[in-house]
Point group: C2
Chain length 276, copies 2
């Protein structure tokens, strides 16, 4: 069976659209872009499209890649103190001369709709649900919850490569009382951990790392990222093998984008409501 | 075999003592105590004893339990801006009327020798080793490192009950490329996870939860807390059973206190050196 992120995202959009239609004044998604990376424009176009679809305004502040870090910080400070702005994001990646972590620290935590600010990340550690949750982990959590999957006591194996996304996800799952195993490229016996898991979440950037024999018959598989290989898009899981009657699996690459963007819209809406 | 925290702590003290003896001016351990809990005095006496042993000064600011949160915050602000103070701690627990997390946020991160400030906790998430590490997780990491135990690829099972200490520890172990499983009271098959582990770290407050049959023959067992039962002190692990030729185990309750206090002295020394 397919665990359809696109469908769940569509439901979130309809709910937000409905909520926003009842508001006197519409929320706005504010974005700062330091232009350099062409891929950023594509991501921003997606965000704009869905913001407008659900009835929000979209405002972009585009800065030239030659600006200094200080100029960006001045803009951030301006937006922090602008009472019309309830939430905004600084599009990543930034030009490599910029100290990304330092920049993120300047964003007011209550306006940080990406959930990257230290205070928001820390709240995941102390089990405080009042902060913004980073959009990809939040999307994965929402997707599981949308299937009424009880997480308490579940065996969950995470196979990760990158850093930023997986620690928040692990913390969210631990907070939900799951038994969470965090595997990486140095894990000795990965198959053992995937085999005993009720849920496998994988973003290893390693095509077909996990096949049908590596998981139990009723395992839920969330395959987050995608790989290009021989001009084909492939997941970390062998979708054709795993896509059976019993396993619940997210097809690659169609789910992660929609859920991540949907959670961004939710964070934007929440920051607006909290700001009222 | 015994993994002797007291001995490792003693080595840290000797090293710090030696380093401090070479300094022109001695560091000081500064402590704010809002007096209420008699146990706090005992902990503070330990800290004072070891600070003085290694050649540091010890300064205590004792406040009455009837003071307001604001009075405490004023004191914290004063110490933040006092250039003579390189590092300090606010002794926990605070009276229950106080918002502990809010108080901790006021401490300047670079002076936070307990490693509780959001910025220091966040640094564990982003793999940034420049912050203060909370003393109990730091003590456990140091104890493992003192035995030259390579953590990369190791199977480590953590069985926890409390929140604050275990997430930093899990993050530190993940950062060291271990395969980390976080178990709790809802875990379905705890024995499976302890059995496959190279290292088991347990603070479940459940006497003799883990016996010799639950672990492999060469498992390293770190038993952190202790339980009182029938007027006896008992660990979460059955020490008598596990204390064999092959397993490396920390006896309860003698190791955790020394390592935690030793790491506090190390954080205090480091904050002083960084402040010079």
């Amino acid at each position: 069976m397919i665990l359809d992120g696109k469908k769940v995202a569509a439901e979130i959009y309809e709910e937000l659209k409905n909520n926003i239609s009842k508001l006197e004044k519409k929320p706005t998604l504010w974005v700062i872009l330091v232009w350099e990376n062409p891929a950023s424009l594509k991501y921003i176009a997606q965000k704009k499209k869905w913001a407008e679809y659900i009835g929000m305004w979209f405002k972009l502040c585009q800065l030239d890649s030659t600006i200094s870090e200080d100029t960006l910080i001045i803009k951030i400070r301006e937006w922090n103190s602008d009472n019309n702005i309830s939430g905004y994001l600084v599009q990543l990646p930034l030009p490599k001369e910029f100290n990304v972590l330092k920049i993120i620290e300047y964003i007011a935590p209550e306006k940080d709709i990406d959930g990257f600010h230290p205070i928001n990340q820390w709240k995941l550690m102390i089990w405080d649900s009042s902060g913004s949750i980073p959009c990809t982990p939040a999307g994965i959590m929402h997707l599981l919850q949308s299937q009424n999957i009880e997480l308490r006591g579940k065996e969950i194996t995470i196979v990760w490569r990158s850093n930023i996304v997986w620690k928040p996800l692990a913390l969210l799952l631990i907070n939900a009382w799951a038994t969470v195993t965090s595997c990486n490229s140095s894990t000795k016996n990965l198959k053992l951990h995937t085999k005993i898991a009720d849920i496998v979440i994988v973003a290893a950037w390693y095509p077909h790392l996990i096949g049908a024999n590596d998981i139990s018959d009723e395992c839920i598989v969330i395959d987050v990222w995608f790989n290009f290989m021989d001009w084909k898009i492939m997941g970390d899981c062998d979708f054709e093998e795993i896509h059976t009657q019993w396993n619940l699996i997210t097809p690659v690459p169609w789910w992660v984008g929609p859920m991540t963007v949907a959670m961004l819209m939710k964070n934007t809406y929440n920051s607006y409501i909290n700001h009222l």
